[in-house]
Amino acid sequence: MGLSVPVSSRTPPDFSRVAAMLASVTRSLQLVRLGQRALPGAAQPLRHISKDIRVPDPGVGVQYRYRVQLPEKYTIKRLPIQKLAGRDPETGRVVVGTLGGGSKQKYRWVDPERPPLSDGSPRRERVLQLVYDALRTCTVALVAHGEHVRYVIAHEGMKVGDIITTYGDIPRIPVRPAVGDAHPLGALPAGTEVFNIQKYLGEKDRICINGGTYCTVLRRVGDRVIVISPSKRQFSLRQECTCVVGRVSMRFPSIRPIGSAQRLRWLGYRPRSGLWQRKTGRFGRKLRRPPPVREFSVPPAPPPEVMTLSLHDVHVHNPSSQSQLVKTFRGRSN
């Protein structure tokens, strides 16, 4: 890592541009011992410390297959996608090595929300078409109300010409729900199979939108409703959150069975190594007690901003005065 020089016998280098960082660097130097590295401060692991490449960990809710540019206004036009081939959208580093290639696919902007009309009355929409979506495991339906046409997730058994209704009120006695209708969770009786459940009021996050899945309403606790997901996890949601009654439709034709290695390539999967590796204790099915009920109330706060300070450059907010910029140091650059 370099020569070990006792800190006390050295004076800090006389560089005016790093004067502001001096205190921090001196403190860190006091922690350095010969042959050891200081622990990295950031959450992401360093791939190789001298290269300073930080590989993002696979996260929940991050899409590594494709990225889509949504226009300002909602449209039912099929939108082109940009394939990421397993790369993290933020950093561009490969996270999943077995994604890539495959046939071209278009994105259909599915409207996750099922709101009633602006005056609170039920919204009735007619199903015009059932559409195949290569980027989802469910079937997508083209529905229309008035002049507005949009895509929604189709429920199992949906047919062209059906009318789906969205209600916004929570009556005192639970309703007898019809499959395909959308109600607030508080209006439904226990045992109802639902999908496309709104997580937070006013937000577009949804639970249970994958093909063939459904959640079940278990019970009501005050003004909250407990639902159980396909993974046997229980969630506590506000009773005003909307959901759709029924099960999510499966995509037809289904992907399974794959049939050949080439078909996996068409689906956008790259070959795996095929090397047999001895499995350790972390593999295999585990019989565990399900985790406690998870409560969804308000969306989580965004993570704090991480600033990346630069040793060699100074941000100047008035680019016209270039002379204020310090010349870059002719050494290893960040």
Partner: protein
């Protein structure tokens, strides 16, 4: 020794850089700070907003605009065709709900199956000498014996998926459609010469048709379309339905699309030309639209089926009939227009009688025109003129020629030409 950059790089520089890689990422978490301050009664302001500071980007982003997109960068108020009120514009694209939506938009009901008796009675009444020979000659000339050979638009042969698709050469569809239609019309004109009615007809190529409508709640609808061919006449067509049938149409209902509006998926734009355009001016002798010929490219437009052709016919006929009705001085007789939609092989005939110019509201749909007169539509399914007309094994082949189709076209042409179908203009 002198402390040079090289010495620095050897000794302390590497340390600096490696330590910096760990230290440069600083988490800025002001959330708890803000909470703590506010709990103590302090008001926290955002510095940028308080002082009105505008952060400028280091490098100004240069937006690349596509050619022709400069017009979109002009302010809306300065664009020549910009209007404050948005209008729904139909220019010939597929309607989401097909013919039912076109009927709902134009307040039209379909009368039974097939064309009115007034037209079907003329089928086979008159024939041209060597009619079948001449018609097959026209087909072969326009589709095969044309020296203009270009590379045609690619059509994927599904039986050869994965294999190289053969490049297809032939007569461009636009050209072959036009030459076929004009050839068939010139044969019809032979009949007109014999019946002494040649001067009563005029053929126009790609005239502009535009009709404006305002609904009772103030919405605007603009139907603008260029048919491939328009056959004009110097006298109007007789109305197929008598006055009692027209009155009885009040009880009939235009197609109900509820909860969908008849204006669903129509483009609502602010840039449009709000004007009524008839193929010819009102003072012209041949000012009555007799038959519209709508052509489409059947080779690549696989999603245009019979239902969509019906929608296209209804909207085009309605625009032409509305223009005629607005041109004539008094209330007078109902305007009647005929239409043939074709891709060169399939021919679909329609007749429209315009009894009312009212269009429904987008919001209330059919309810807004429930007790009004309805426009009447007669139409039939598309019929093929031939099955196959192409070079096969190096030889020109026309297979499956259907002689009935030209008889039906002649019947449409003769409507209004024969003495007994000429309406009483007084």
């Amino acid at each position: 020794m002198r402390f040079t950059p090289v010495l620095h790089k050897h000794l302390l520089g590497r340390w600096y850089n490696d330590m910096w890689k760990q230290k440069k990422r600083v988490t800025v978490d002001n959330r708890k700070l803000k909470q703590a301050l506010e709990a103590n009664g302090k008001t926290v302001y955002d510095a940028a907003k308080l002082f009105g500071v505008q952060w400028e980007d280091r490098e100004p982003r240069v937006m690349e605009t596509a050619v022709g997109a400069e017009a979109a960068l002009v302010e809306p108020a300065r664009r020549p065709e910009h209007h404050q009120t948005a209008a729904f514009v139909y220019q010939g694209k597929n309607l989401l709900l097909g013919q039912r939506q076109a009927q709902a938009l134009t307040n039209t009901i379909q009368v039974g199956e097939g064309l009115p008796e007034q037209v079907t009675a003329l089928e086979g009444l008159e024939r041209i000498r060597n009619q079948d020979e001449l018609v097959t000659d026209v087909i072969k000339t326009s589709l095969m014996f044309d020296a203009t050979q270009e590379k045609l638009s690619k059509v994927i042969d599904v039986t050869r998926l994965g294999l190289p698709q053969p490049v297809q050469y032939g007569v461009p569809e636009l050209r072959s459609n036009r030459s076929l239609l004009s050839g068939l019309l010139s044969l019809c004109e032979r009949l007109a010469v014999r019946l002494d009615g040649f001067q009563s007809r005029l053929t126009l190529y790609r005239p502009l048709l535009s009709a404006t409508h305002v609904t009772s709640d103030g919405h605007r609808l603009l139907v603008s379309r260029r048919p491939e061919l328009a056959l004009m006449a110097d006298r109007p067509l007789p109305a197929p339905a008598p006055a009692q049938a027209v009155e009885a149409s009040r009880a009939a209902a235009a197609p109900q699309l509820e909860p969908v509006s008849p204006f669903v998926h129509l483009h609502s734009v602010h840039d449009y030309q709000w004007r009524d355009v008839a193929p010819v001016s009102a003072g012209c002798r041949h000012r009555y639209v007799h038959t519209l010929f709508l052509a489409w490219n059947g080779r690549i437009k696989k999603w245009v089926d019979d239902d969509q052709l019906g929608a296209l016919s209804v909207m085009s006929m309605h625009a032409a009939a509305v223009n005629m009705a607005r041109q004539q001085a008094g209330p007078g007789r109902p305007a009647v227009v005929q239409c043939v939609a074709t891709d060169g092989r399939l021919f679909k005939r329609s007749v429209l009688q315009l009894n009312t110019q009212a269009v429904p509201d987008p919001t209330s749909g059919e309810v807004s025109t429930r007790h009004q007169l309805k426009n009447l539509l007669w139409t039939e399914p598309a019929t093929p003129l031939y099955e196959r007309c192409a070079y096969t094994d190096g030889r020109p082949l026309l297979a499956g020629y259907n002689a009935e189709v030209f008889n039906r076209l002649l019947a449409l042409y003769m409507n209004g030409l024969l003495a007994r179908t000429v309406p009483d203009l007084n």
